[in-house]
């Protein structure tokens, strides 16, 4: 009885599809968009996004209500989320460079604790779940190369990364421009010399964390481990770098802290001297060598390459198992 109805439906509703296949780019974009959307279905992801938006709104609200020179409250809150360090140094640097300094402080490390957690969460499940449930077989039974599969997954995380760095960066930037009543020519100049470099710095941050998360995700089948490891990386590396600096007196201590390393790159890109910046935000003076930005670039670049290598090797190695 059941079988009769199935065959009937088959012959009735069966629509011939003229078999015009779309190309590689379409398929990669499909993976990225569908995966990003699917991740949104998770309650944890929703919660983290909500927290992220709340922080953003509070940051803007603080900026508007307290003005740019009086922000000193909620320091611990700021420190916890690594975002919007209160620019207590502003009175000292008021004047021409104020805009840059405030902006740099607003950006913080450009990645909040929540961002890392969220990207860790989204990214970790992407490949490890596929491995655990063998879905990768289903992907590869489509005309999809392993590299296309990885790029697609990368794209899914990238969508999150972009929204978490570029949206806040954009909001801070234009809020600040308006608050400081900058002229149009100044704004135009800032867009080229500050805004775009800030976006670029966000991109570098994002690339690093994405690659890290995905390569971890391809090593283990357990998404949870990846999320935990990723979340632990920031605090651990800060701790480690402080030990290097204060206890062991290592010159390149900043290399042991990913957030500080990324911050140095960010400052360099938007045109603030890292030494000046840290001198004004930290209690103790920090000696940074003039080439620190270059070293950080190199270091982060190498890290990204290493993670990428691990990722590609893991994917290559994937013999399909059932």
């Amino acid at each position: 009885m059941e079988s009769e109805s199935t065959s009937q439906i088959y012959s009735l509703g069966y629509r011939k599809w003229e078999k015009k296949f779309k190309g590689t780019i379409y398929r990669i974009l499909t993976i990225a968009l569908v995966e990003a959307k699917t991740a949104l279905g998770s309650r944890i992801v929703k919660l983290l996004i909500f927290a992220r938006v709340a922080i953003l709104v509070i940051g803007i609200f603080k900026l508007i209500t307290f003005g740019i020179s009086g922000i000193t409250f909620m320091l611990s809150f700021d420190a916890l989320f690594g975002l919007m360090m209160s620019p207590t140094f502003l009175p000292i640097f008021a004047g021409k460079t104020a805009f840059l300094k405030v902006f740099a402080a607003m950006l913080g490390s450009q990645f909040s604790f929540f961002d890392v957690l969220l990207i860790g969460w989204v990214g970790s499940s992407l490949i490890s779940n596929d491995r655990e449930y063998n879905s990768i077989t289903l992907y590869l039974s489509r005309p999809i190369r392993k590299t296309e599969y990885v790029i697609g997954k990368y794209g899914a995380v990238f969508i999150y990364v972009l929204s978490f760095t570029w949206v806040p960066t954009t909001l801070y930037f234009f809020t600040l421009e308006i608050l400081m009543e900058r002229s149009f020519s100044q704004i135009a100049f800032d867009i080229v010399s500050v805004y775009f470099p800030a976006l670029l710095s966000g991109l570098i941050n994002g690339l690093l964390i994405m690659t890290l998360v995905l390569s971890l995700s391809s090593i283990t089948k357990r998404g949870l481990y990846v999320g935990m490891l990723t979340a632990a990386i920031n605090p651990l590396s800060i701790l480690f770098s402080q030990i290097m600096r204060n206890v062991l007196g290592v010159d390149f201590w900043y290399l042991f802290s990913l957030p500080i390393c990324l911050k140095i790159i960010q400052l360099f890109l938007i045109g603030v001297s890292p030494s000046d910046y840290f001198a004004s935000t930290q209690e103790t003076a920090i000696n940074l060598s003039p080439i620190s930005a270059g070293i950080c670039f190199l270091f982060i670049g190498v890290l990204i390459l290493i993670f990428l290598y691990i990722l590609i090797r893991q994917i290559r190695k994937l013999e399909l198992t059932e």
Partner: protein, 305 residues
């Protein structure tokens, strides 16, 4: 469409030192082909080699005229593959999975969505299609796997163990689906270790054992040829056994005092003659057919020797 749907030449796959399949040769001219073999005989390995999911160690194969290693991506546009393992992503609903994998073949979103609904209707997944696949029963997963293999309207379906985990009703529906697909002009390659599955759906069969091709041909031919045997009961079976063997009868065995002889229609007359000339008392001479199961077991046994 080419004449030869699937062609394997000396197809060999080793997983490191572990043999998957070795030197498999066959041509499939369309219709329905069942791959039979016990667990670990290389059925899944063969299917994966054909569509280029695994790197072939030696030899080559062609599917719909395309080389499995070089044009794997072209092949995968034209075939539908229903894998053996679960494979379905957990955190999506059925309709999304089906649409998604349609799009991944290259179907535009609207087409993929409409075809996904049609295919899910066809396999009989109703409102469940809006539920997360994590909540699906084994039967629903099998149906969804079938739907995703159909969504891009392939000419050839490679189906790995379709009745796994299905209850008798579910199994019958799945087999009817496969027969119906064949009636609608799809070529079908089905793998199973359950003989009746193949018997009920396939015209021809390919039997694998420990990675080797044992038999390949029309199912009915194979069955009528080798499936008959004679049961003989005599007063002194051991001695009569010797006599039969000495007379040149190759395929004789004794089981529970009963002699079993494989052979064609001249066996009875020979046996009667031998019994009479040697003074044996013939108590039973019966022509019987193996059930498919027994046939299969016998075939596997003869393969060991």
């Amino acid at each position: 469409m080419p004449d030869v749907i699937i062609e394997a030449k000396n197809l060999t796959k080793f997983y490191g030192p572990i043999k998957g399949i070795e030197s498999v040769d066959f041509e499939f001219h369309g219709g329905t082909l069942g791959i039979l073999g016990p667990n670990g005989s290389g059925k899944s390995t063969m299917i994966k080699c054909l569509i280029g999911l695994l790197n072939i160690t030696e030899g080559e194969s062609y599917v719909l005229g395309y080389n499995s290693s070089k044009d794997a991506r072209r092949i995968r546009q034209l075939i539908g593959y229903m894998p053996e393992a679960r494979c379905i992503p957990l955190d999506m609903d059925g309709i999304s999975v089906c649409t998604y994998f349609g799009r991944l073949v290259g179907m535009p979103k609207a087409d993929a969505m409409q075809r996904a609904h049609e295919c899910l209707d066809y396999v009989g997944l109703k409102e469940q299609r809006y539920r997360k696949t994590g909540t699906y029963s084994a039967g629903m997963i099998q149906r969804l796997k079938m739907a995703q293999a159909l969504v891009h309207d392939p000419d050839l379906l490679l189906i790995d163990e379709p009745t796994n985990g299905l209850d008798p009703v579910g199994r019958e529906e799945m087999l009817e689906l496969i027969r119906d697909l064949n009636r609608n002009g799809k070529h079908i390659l089905l793998s199973s270790h359950i003989l009746p599955d193949v018997e009920e759906t396939c015209e021809s069969t390919l039997i694998l054992s420990e990675g080797h091709l044992v038999k390949y041909g029309n199912l009915n031919d194979l069955l009528t040829k080798d499936r008959e045997f004679y049961k003989i009961k005599v007063n002194n079976p051991e001695t009569f056994y010797e006599i039969l063997v000495n007379d040149g009868m190759m395929e004789v065995s004794i089981k529970d005092e009963i002699l079993i002889i494989q052979g064609d229609a001249d066996v009875p007359s020979k046996v009667i003659k031998l019994a009479a000339s040697n003074n044996f008392q013939l108590m039973l001479l019966d022509r019987e057919r193996y059930t498919l199961e027994e046939f299969f077991v016998e075939l596997m046994k003869s393969q060991d020797i």
